[in-house]
Symmetry: C2
Subunit: 246 residues, 2 copies
């Protein structure tokens, strides 16, 4: 891990850009982190739109985390941002757009081609990032995962024992294989659903919530469309992490 820049935000949060091999990432630590005990860590998931485009929303979430005493970190997804293009996934994305535009049902084949390579590649990268982040003096355990592509969150919740709680956003397609993995997830979950998200299959999201094997799982559904998650829902997710990571 190489730190490439460092800046102190106005609320005292320390933001460090880094690279992990070829993969860019960002780490945010609460202002007091260097002086007190290592902070628990929340991994900030995000859609594959590139860290640059996602930065305003990520830094807002990271400040929110820091205000609760959490460090937060994220890495670029494969095929996004400044990382090399990924023609197979871009083809699947084009197929998805076309199906949606002409009103066709989105086939399992398209969803699999879009999501499974992303999950298979990204999850080991997040795990490698976790290895490195947890070795830093300002970062302790436990670790939470929050948001982003829900299939990545599901796989991480299943295979990465250092993640003890996950806040998921049920707003994207989930391949059948990942749906089956969801049945085996047992960590506490806080699942956000935008009830009136026109581009999302609400029934599939409800079925997915039902499938999770966790004995503590909460579904919070709100209005406001895909990107309109209300502030109070963010606060509720923060309290979920405070219950489980502190």
């Amino acid at each position: 891990m190489q730190f490439t820049s460092e800046q102190r935000l106005d609320d005292g949060v320390l933001e460090r850009a880094f690279t992990l091999g070829e993969i860019p990432g960002i780490l945010w630590t609460p202002g007091f982190a260097s002086e007190t005990a290592p902070a628990p860590l929340i991994l900030l998931g995000h859609p594959p739109l590139g860290l640059g485009k996602m930065y305003p929303r990520l830094v807002a979430r990271a400040r929110h985390c820091a205000a609760q005493g959490f460090a937060a970190a994220t890495i670029e997804l494969p095929g996004s941002g400044d990382r090399p293009r990924w023609p197979a996934v871009e083809q699947a994305r084009a197929d998805l757009r076309r199906a949606v535009q002409v009103g066709e049902p989105v086939s399992d084949a398209i969803v699999d081609a879009l999501i499974l390579p992303l999950v298979d590649t990204a999850v080991p990268e997040w795990q490698a990032a976790l290895d490195t982040l947890l070795a830093l003096p300002w970062i302790g355990g436990p670790v939470g995962y929050s948001g982003g592509v829900i299939s990545i969150g599901i796989r991480l919740a299943l295979v990465e024992p250092r993640i003890t709680a996950a806040g998921l956003f049920a707003g994207s397609f989930v391949p059948r294989a990942i749906f089956e993995e969801a049945r085996q997830v047992t960590i506490p979950l806080h699942v956000l659903l935008q009830w009136d998200d026109a581009g999302n299959d609400r029934q599939a999201a409800l079925d997915l919530f039902d499938a999770f094997g966790s004995t503590e799982k909460t579904l919070e559904a709100n209005m406001g469309g895909h990107t309109g998650v209300p502030q109070f829902a963010g606060d509720a997710a923060a309290r979920f992490f405070t219950r489980h990571l502190k």
Copy 2:
């Protein structure tokens, strides 16, 4: 309104039993209420099991309200507790039990016979209680309604303009006529659903949430069975009222 007893609970909450005509009720005010501004009021709904039986859960909810600066009040439902029996509703309840025991679907006729008379009688009683409670010096507005028979909450949310926010528990049968009323409800709603409530029709609860006309509505679903609403869900409901009644 006649006060029939008064006691100070160990956390300073003042509990007053009262009768309103033939109807018994209980009012709880925060310890500081007499010295400062009138407190906003939350009406505590409950199932038709009698105030005596429900008292432990009601007083716990009232203490929770008081800790947030709210007064809380409840009245006995018609046909429950020390109020006169109500043979027609008791017959409907027996019909319901029999249908459930033999595994028959619960007919609309049974649900209507069980719920509609209760709503039609109870709602004007809650409104009369509100008239009286809001005239007391320790009670101000705005007013919230919380829990209990959800059909009563829906009707109150629709017809009683002094109620500005409602926390509802989607755990009981809802007649079709009340379902239609739900479409016309526009106040902010916080709806709790116990996802694994074996005796509840989950799909009907989701359909009901979908039907509500409110632009701000939240569904929070948790595990734990019908009576196992987790403590953190109670806290989330309290924050909902704090957002809307303060």
